[in-house]
């Protein structure tokens, strides 16, 4: 029993205990599903809880049990929020990230964890502070591509378990990503060998994104190896957004450049923009120019033509990242720095129409498993 005054504000465990005529320990035991309290006691407690509308305070719980059951997810916000329009079209480039987060969330939930999401602006001068604040609110951090330098990551990994997504191999902490190289090589082979295209191009994503670098490199080298030509250079530098795809194509056409026979894009959204801009100029996809994406976002199959792309197990990547992080969190010993691993999840080439393949006419059953 406790003699604390009845709080006027939100009820605490003391209020519940008093009302149920038990000690706070018993209330806590009921809350945590221990089996000690016998049914009669348990019922009294439960009744008091619902009468008071009691909600146990997560902070107190976390402090006491040394576990917040929260994982932080940090991703990059590209455009500042101060430069005029509060909400630029930035958002369209975040679909992929949102999907990953969904994957993390679903798995996290099974373990009783919730997600603390936070976007950061790369050029924010208070970045280290922001990340610290976030870190303080969770048990571990999942960092999306390009939110922090390797040094920065290493530094905060001293204190909190950290896992990166789509980071470069050999980073300071464990990393989860899709297999970019294999499927981009396959894509190159498909375009060059199966379709016979000889003059291709790769529209890049952020220049400093490891995913983008590997995709571009794998594609170009395979195209070359097969005797094809792969256009490259600043004219082909995009930023993962549909808008950049549109701009690049428009620019090229405005300059009177001869377009390549096929354009492989760093991701689906860029491909969406490219297809749009091509159509704008009366060019047919894939008749005049073949276009491919990467990611296989849900909308890819609803485009006309349906987008040939590489399927990444997006949500699984998120899920895996959480599992890795979770095992670090629950590990008895602090981070074992030799345990740093690079998890690579398989990807798969999805041949649809935008590469020049005929519309899918296989029976539905077959289509589903392919």
């Amino acid at each position: 029993m406790d003699a604390r005054p009845t709080s006027g504000a939100t009820p605490t465990i003391y209020d519940v205990a008093r009302r149920a005529g038990v000690s706070i320990a018993s209330v806590s035991r009921v809350l945590n599903g221990r089996d000690n309290p016998r049914p009669a006691t348990r019922d009294r407690v439960l009744k008091a809880i619902s009468e008071l509308g009691f909600v146990p305070d997560g902070a107190a719980r976390a402090l006491s049990s040394r576990l917040k059951q929260v994982v932080g997810v940090v991703f990059r916000r590209v455009y500042g929020t101060d430069d005029g329009g509060m909400f630029e079209d930035e958002s369209e480039s975040l679909l992929f990230g949102d999907q990953i987060n969904r994957g993390i969330e679903i798995v996290a939930q099974r373990r009783g964890y919730d997600l603390l999401v936070s976007s950061v602006n790369i050029d924010e001068h208070t970045l280290p502070n922001r990340i610290m604040t976030i870190a303080g609110k969770c048990d571990g951090l999942i960092l999306h591509d390009q939110v922090l330098s390797p040094a920065g990551i290493a530094s905060i990994a001293r204190t909190v378990p950290v896992v990166t997504l789509a980071g470069a191999e050999g980073g300071p902490v464990s990393n989860v990503r899709g297999d970019n190289a294999t499927s981009m090589r396959e894509m190159a082979r498909h375009l060059v060998q199966d379709h016979g295209y000889r003059r291709l191009a790769y529209i890049a994503g952020h220049a400093d994104s490891p995913d983008n670098i590997v995709r571009g490199r794998s594609f170009a080298s395979e195209v070359h190896a097969l005797g094809g030509e792969c256009l490259t250079g600043p004219a082909w530098q995009g930023d993962y957004s549909a808008g950049s795809g549109v701009q690049i194509v428009r620019g090229l056409i405005a300059l009177g450049a001869t377009l390549p026979r096929a354009i492989a894009c760093a991701n689906d959204q860029t491909a969406l923009g490219v297809i749009y801009a091509l159509a704008e100029h009366g060019l047919d996809v894939p008749g005049d120019v073949a276009v491919t994406g990467f990611d296989d976002l849900p909308f890819a199959r609803h485009l006309r033509p349906q987008l040939t792309t590489v399927r990444q197990p997006i949500q699984e990547i998120g899920a895996k990242a959480f599992e890795v992080l979770h095992s670090m969190i629950t590990a008895d010993s602090p981070q074992d720095s030799d345990a740093v691993q690079d998890f690579v999840l398989p990807t798969r080439l999805i041949r649809r129409e935008s590469c020049g393949c005929p519309p899918d006419s296989r029976p539905a059953v077959w289509r589903q498993i392919s």
Copy 2:
């Protein structure tokens, strides 16, 4: 000074204090940017902090200051995660929600708040528990459309500040939504009067979604008022997903039904599916059937034909919701239940091509501001 043993694990404020040769109070003051500590002291503390890689514990901070600086965001996850495929295409219906969350996040960040996001499965039997756990981890809750019954909302609002998104007017807590009625009426007028269509249809979203109900009702009644016909009924019941749009059109065509001259969809994603399915059957949009959406997601302008839709200030809706919640959190008095308000943000009809309007040929400058 404190005599606590040097912790072997993550450093605490005590470790910092010892190392800097000051008391924990001073460390705390430095951490919180108080101006008491004089420069010399401050520097010693800062040095100790960075040497130790100290990160203040959010839980302890929250417990002590009675503020977590976290807002919870709960949205509905449509498909269970247990029925076979872990990740169904559910995700494609969440774009809208993600955008709202982004709006919340950006504004929240300015006030030092982070977002705790959590999806819930409606038929989860432990729903109240899940919501409680989440509530315990934050200072307030923003609930997306259809995650909890009005009674459920009222119940948890007893304990935590709550704001709903896209809820029905007259709910138990303050609500933020777009103006569905005005713009859907305008859409009806545009389709019937400007284009002269007489036979139209509305493909519904979730039957229990207030947004959907108002959109359908406003559209149908305006069409009728103008002497048009608006098809309705179970055949036109979708669920906000592209897939449902595809299914509905396919079903109708399979039944040999005569399609209406124009189809207004409950949201952009459904429209995407509808356009896709129409194209699949060789039907031209808008030539044979006009199609419109709602939301104006970024991809809407990159479709062929460009989608005529209603622009909702999506991120602003999120931002507003946060602001309302924030003022509830910082209010001295607990929730003033007469202060419940329904915030309606303006929407706007965006005429592009899918309704039958000619491709936009206005100069770019003009296009931007329209």
